[in-house]
Amino acid sequence: MEEEDSNKKEIKNEIKEEKPFVRVEDPEIHFICSSCKMNEVVQYKGTYPPFAGNIKLLEPCYVMRDPFQPRAKTKPEAFIVIGADCCICEKAVCKDTTCSFFYAKSFCIKCAGENIHQLPKEVQAKYRKQVG
């Protein structure tokens, strides 16, 4: 291919673009929120995201590498928690306040409603405020 060839040559002539570090292929985990159908590819599910620095999670979550900043080894806050499995029905739910409720564990909004009376009353108040 003419165009391709000349382009290849061009690249050869240029000084090779140095990559900041060797890229390790991330696994692709498909996350779909059972409530709002939010559909994202995340790179990690668990409690200790390897790219979250010194932060761990209270429960296993679906975690995405922060796509809004370039990949680098030593960046803080380079992750986004997208969702978790409901601690009761085990369905995946996203972090949106219309889809899940969090107190020590994630609850899908339905299970949260059904089980809220078992939680402290401050938490019940907060839940009502969130759903309200």
């Binding site: 200790y48 986004i80 928690v81 978790a84 994630s106």
Partner: protein, 1123 residues
């Protein structure tokens, strides 16, 4: 303060311990840093504390241990468990990372409880940031789903499952360009190409789509444009310009690298887009697996639907998303007054900005500045923008409370200036954008409430009758006017003020004229033929161009030897189709490849292909004119350009601030970068097909290498920093912006960094040499000759009465168009005397030469790059050439009389050579030169084919010598001292031009013009075809040529070689010379006769008072070191 007591925010704040708590935030290694933006974090802490205080909870509860059992968390309320995060300090990570000890804070005034409490605040902050980022994604998805196109996603999927072609028609704002490629990827397509008419759109769309796919820093989405590409093997969606995809098609007709082609913006109907439509229409038949998605605005959809009638096409119409827009017709009062005047032609009337001022005034009266009210004004061109902006600024200044920010917008603006139109006007202010039709489709500014439409557009059209372009102002089409109106309703209801009447609107054309009717077709037709199309006349154009213009184009291609007479593509044609430039420039490059030193030709071709870097200001601002004076060349404007480029490179070489210099000179620096890139592209293409020898890179010393290495490292880190910079955020506009100081800093100029990355000092020196034309006449003349080789027949001769007229009345005639002028910005326009014959250059006439035309050896013609009609027809970018030599070297057909005292070129210009022998000698030399040139070119082109089949021949020394000699001989030829007259033939002259007499072939045992050319009778004109382009003896004799013949018959002629004196005339002498046995046998000159090399110039250094034999580069080096 007691460390055991509770933390009470009434008398305590973490903000007072910023310094000692910093170590908590940073940890023991960079890996442990917790927050990205510390100042943002401390702002959060301050706010958090004040909220707690104001809500009556100033006492922070004791820290919680997150490892307590779940039941306890559920039974006993702990606020801390609203936050799903914790520190991973030595805990059981699954990868065994971060075994760090606890974060250590060295401050006796802080208790360990307080430090733990601080940690909880950090977690709250991080959770807050998590929620922000999550919402960012959520919002992105919500915006995507709210786009009108989203409702059609499933339908698109279904359509593509059953059909091969799908048309999606939707207006701007429906989201088709950004969403459809993503949908296709979701449907499982892996190799998606999406074409765009404009380079800029490719870049910005790929950025936008990558962002929406959360892959800003990856390569799932890429782009490829003329000078740049950004893609990898992982790329699934590629935005590519139409032209580039066509080139890929040309070499890989099956296009296996894509499984879907999306052709976007096909309603624009530009040349490449139309061509692509035709090509893909053919392609899908051959490739049933390939899907084709055509996207267009809702303009003339039936046309596209009907075009694909045979192929079962599906149509999806997506409604746009527009708020209601009120249309107000506000014709200028002058239009009403002048109704009776016959001339309403818009070109004669000067542009009047008053109606636009009135509209702003109207808006000011009707709508308080507290309401939103940005304005977008459409006018036809850059000059109109300047005039309107001045008037509007003046209006704004006059008011007691100036609140208008006036912003010009056109494609000639620097990108950073274009970006300003996206900024917000501050509270109480409004922005008013004055734009060309660039904001009609290609650029979308949100938030516009008022559109003011002049209804005018300036458009380039092509006049095939004079092969000239015309830039004229027209009324826009209905569809353009509606498109402009639509820009007022993107963010809310709007108003469109039309500076014309409703009646005029109804008289507008429905659609704009497609580009195929407005441009020369040479390049596109040649490209089609080279792709293997046997007959371009049957190509399935969506709207075919006129048959006549196709025929004319084919004829022109034949004249350029790109096609044979039976319309097969030649080797030259193939090579031309390979080059991404107009045929004229391509031919220049190829004809230039024959010579030994091609560096200059590459630069010249690149410089002539880019838009001129001289801005309007360069010609209107006397300061710029002054600054430029030293760089101006009286040989042609292109040489002024090369001189400027040389100066620019020299400054780059000295690492000086070129941006500032360009601004001072009124130059658009971007063009110079483009010249460098394009030159590199030419070089690569020509090298890859072996038209050019790839040069070996010079040896560097290790010191030079390591210096360059350091430089490259520095540049790369600069580049990386820029690449990862946040995309430009919208800013608030200021009413007065001073840009002067921004020229002082060049380190943040990405173009400069790129340029320096790809050009080390060796390459810079090569570039500098390649545009240094002031030192060698030989180089200059060769460049001029190569220009003519490419641009012929674009020749103009001066009017015969120019000698007695002033500057404004200098006229020239081209073959097709009489009385054209030189563009007022051209150097020749000021310095027109240089094109006239002065008294001393006019020779005395022999008594038998009766015509009144002056005899001289200094006649000149102009060779021009294009003919452009604005107010008047103008010759653009011309160079001056010696007339006879140029015509004899490049004319397509040369006719002579029997004694070769009269030569007619292309049945247009007649040359008289009244001095005996002269005409014949000049013509013989010209024929020999052009044949040698042609042979060398053919040989090169054959080699190209040879290389393809694996054989590569080493160039012999003899060939090299021939190439060297050709150059020398051409230079000598152009400086021949030959006396002649030039005359333009009139239609009446043409009637009696040819004698239609047969000449006895037997007399021609030897062809003195070209020994290996088989002489034949020319049946059309009479006489004999003696070379490819020469017919001998077909012209009728004139009174004076007969008289000369009589005189000559009485004279003896003595041969230079054998010394014999014989009575012979005309060609017989030439025949004798060839036959003469006493002829010396050496045909090549000794190398010593070549011009002295450039090293021989003496250079005297004023600072060290020494004289050197230096080349120009060495002089610079010396000057630098000797300061």
């Amino acid at each position: 303060m007691s460390s055991k007591s509770k933390t009470n925010l009434v008398n305590f704040s973490f903000c007072n311990f910023k310094h000692s708590l910093e170590s908590f935030l940073v940890g023991n290694s960079p890996h442990e840093t917790l927050v990205e933006d510390k100042s943002d974090f401390w702002k959060f802490v301050a706010k958090y504390e004040s909220i707690l205080k104001s809500s009556g909870q100033p006492v922070i509860p004791p820290p919680t241990d997150s490892s307590i059992p779940l039941e306890k968390k559920f039974s006993e309320f702990q606020k801390r468990f609203y936050v799903p995060l914790d520190f991973n300090d030595g805990g059981g990570s699954d990868k065994g990372r971060s075994k760090s000890s606890k974060r250590f804070v060295d401050d006796r005034n802080l208790s360990s409880t307080q430090i733990k409490q601080f940690g909880e605040i950090v977690l709250i902050y991080l959770d807050f940031k998590q929620k922000e980022k999550f919402q960012k994604i959520k919002k992105l998805r919500k915006t995507q789903k709210s786009l009108p196109i989203f409702k059609f996603k499933e339908k698109i999927k279904e359509c593509l499952e059953t059909e091969q072609i799908l048309i999606i028609a939707g207006d701007t704002g429906c989201g088709k360009s950004t969403q459809v490629p993503q949908y296709l990827r979701e449907f499982g397509y892996q190799k998606i190409a999406c074409t765009q008419p404009r380079r800029l759109a490719c870049v910005s769309l790929s950025k936008r789509v990558a962002h929406e796919m959360l892959d800003d820093y990856g390569t799932t989405v890429g782009f490829q444009i003329r000078f740049e590409k950004n893609k990898s093997s992982r790329t699934n969606i590629l935005f590519i310009t139409e032209g580039l995809l066509l080139r890929q098609l040309a070499v890989d007709a099956n296009l296996d690298q894509y499984d879907v082609l999306i052709l976007d913006e096909i309603h624009e109907r530009n040349l490449q887009g139309d061509f692509l439509l035709g090509v893909t229409k053919c392609l899908i038949k051959a490739k049933p697996d390939l899907k084709l998605v055509l996207m267009s605005a809702t303009i003339n959809i039936e046309l596209f639907q009907n075009y694909f009638n045979d192929e079962n096409v599906q149509l999806i119409e997506v409604p746009g998303r527009l708020f209601p827009i009120k249309t107000v017709y506000l014709p200028p009062p002058s239009l009403e007054l002048n109704k009776n005047k016959a001339s309403t032609s818009s070109t004669t009337a000067r542009f009047n900005p008053e109606p636009f001022v009135q509209v702003l005034n109207l808006i000011d009266q009707k709508f308080p500045t507290t309401e939103r009210g940005d304005v977008l004004i459409f006018v036809s061109g850059v000059n109109e923008i300047t005039t309107a902006c001045d008037a509007l600024k003046e209006y704004s200044e006059r008011s007691t409370n100036p609140h208008w920010i006036i912003l010009p917008l056109h494609s000639g603006l620097a990108l950073s200036d274009q970006d300003k139109v996206f900024d917000y006007a501050p509270e109480g202010m409004r922005k008013c954008i004055v734009s060309t039709n660039i904001a009609e489709t290609s650029l979308t500014v949100d938030g516009i409430r008022f559109v003011v439409d002049s209804g005018k557009v300036k458009e380039m059209s092509y006049d095939s009758s004079c092969k000239g372009q015309r830039l004229k102002e027209f009324w826009v089409s209905k569809s353009s006017a509606d498109q402009r109106k639509g820009r007022a309703g993107r963010t809310g209801p709007g108003i469109c003020y039309r500076i014309f009447t409703e009646k005029q609107y109804t008289a507008f054309e429905d659609y704009p004229t497609p580009e195929i009717y407005r441009v020369p077709l040479e390049t596109i037709l040649l490209q089609m033929i080279s792709m293997g199309l046997p007959d371009v006349r049957v190509f399935p154009f969506i709207e075919p161009p006129a048959e006549e213009s196709i025929e004319q184009t084919i004829l022109a291609l034949k004249q350029h030897s790109a096609l044979t007479f039976d319309e097969k593509i030649t080797a030259l044609g193939k090579a031309l189709a390979n080059l991404p430039v107009e045929i004229t420039i391509g031919k220049m490059l190829l004809m230039g490849c024959v010579f030994l030193d091609t560096q200059k030709i590459l630069t010249l071709a690149a410089a002539m292909s880019v838009q001129s870097p001289f801005t309007n200001r360069a010609f209107t601002d006397p300061k710029c004119e002054n600054e430029r004076r030293d760089l101006e060349s009286d040989n042609g404007d292109v040489f002024t350009l090369l001189n400027s480029y040389h100066e620019w490179l020299t400054m780059k070489w000295r690492s000086e601030n070129t941006r500032k210099w360009c601004h001072k000179m009124g130059l658009e620096e971007q063009r110079f970068y483009e010249v460098a890139k394009l030159r590199n592209q030419f070089k690569n293409i020509l090298e890859s097909c072996n038209m050019l020898m790839s040069e070996s890179t010079g040896d560097e010393t290790s010191a030079e290498r390591s210096k360059r290495h350091g430089e490259v490292q520095m540049l790369k880190s600069l580049k990386r920093a820029q690449k990862f910079q946040e995309p430009r955020k919208k800013k608030f506009l200021k009413r007065e912006e001073f840009t002067e100081e921004s020229f002082d800093n060049q380190t943040n100029d990405i173009r400069d960094v790129d340029f320096r990355l790809s050009h080390d000092s060796n390459q810079l020196e090569i570039l500098m040499n390649s545009c240094d034309i002031q030192r060698s006449f030989k180089d200059l003349m060769l460049l001029k000759m190569v220009i003519c080789a490419g641009f012929y027949p674009q020749i103009a001769i001066p009017d015969e009465f120019n000698y007695c007229k002033g500057g404004t009345q200098q006229f020239f005639h081209t073959f097709l168009k009489p009385f054209v002028s030189i563009h007022p910005n051209s150097q020749f326009s000021k310095n027109f005397e240089i094109l006239k014959l002065n008294e001393s250059e006019i020779s005395e006439k022999p008594r038998y030469y009766t015509p009144k035309n002056p005899l001289s050896s200094h006649h000149q013609v102009l060779c021009y790059q294009n003919l452009l009609e604005t107010a008047k027809p103008y010759l653009m970018n011309s160079i001056r050439m010696p007339a006879a030599q140029t015509l004899l070297l490049f004319s397509f057909s040369i006719d002579t009389n029997a004694s070769i005292t009269n030569v007619v070129c292309d049945s247009w210009l007649s040359l008289d050579f009244p001095i005996p022998e002269m005409g014949r000698e000049v013509l013989l030399r010209a024929v020999r030169l052009r044949r040698t040139w042609q042979k060398l070119l053919s040989k090169k082109l054959e080699e190209v084919d040879g290389v393809a089949s694996g054989e590569q021949k080493k160039e012999g020394r003899r060939d090299k010598q021939i190439r060297e000699d050709l150059w020398d001989d051409l230079i000598k030829f152009t400086s021949l001292n030959v006396t002649y007259s030039v005359k333009k033939l009139l239609p009446a002259d043409l009637k009696n031009l040819y004698n239609h007499c047969e000449i006895n072939l037997e007399k021609f045992t030897i062809n003195p013009f070209a020994e290996d050319f088989l002489v034949s009778q020319n049946t059309q004109k009479g006489g004999l075809q003696v070379a490819e382009n020469v017919v001998y003896g077909c012209l009728n004799e004139s009174t004076w040529s007969n008289a000369l013949d009589l005189e000559l018959q009485e004279q003896f002629w003595s041969c230079d070689f054998c010394g014999k004196s014989i009575v012979v005339t005309g060609l017989k002498k030439a025949v004798h010379k060839i036959k003469c046995t006493a002829k010396p046998s050496i045909s090549y000159e000794e190398p010593s006769s070549h011009q002295s090399s450039s090293k021989d110039d003496k250079f005297y250094c004023r600072s060290c008072k020494q004289t050197f034999n230096f080349s120009k580069i060495e002089i610079l080096k010396h000057k630098k070191s000797c300061r």
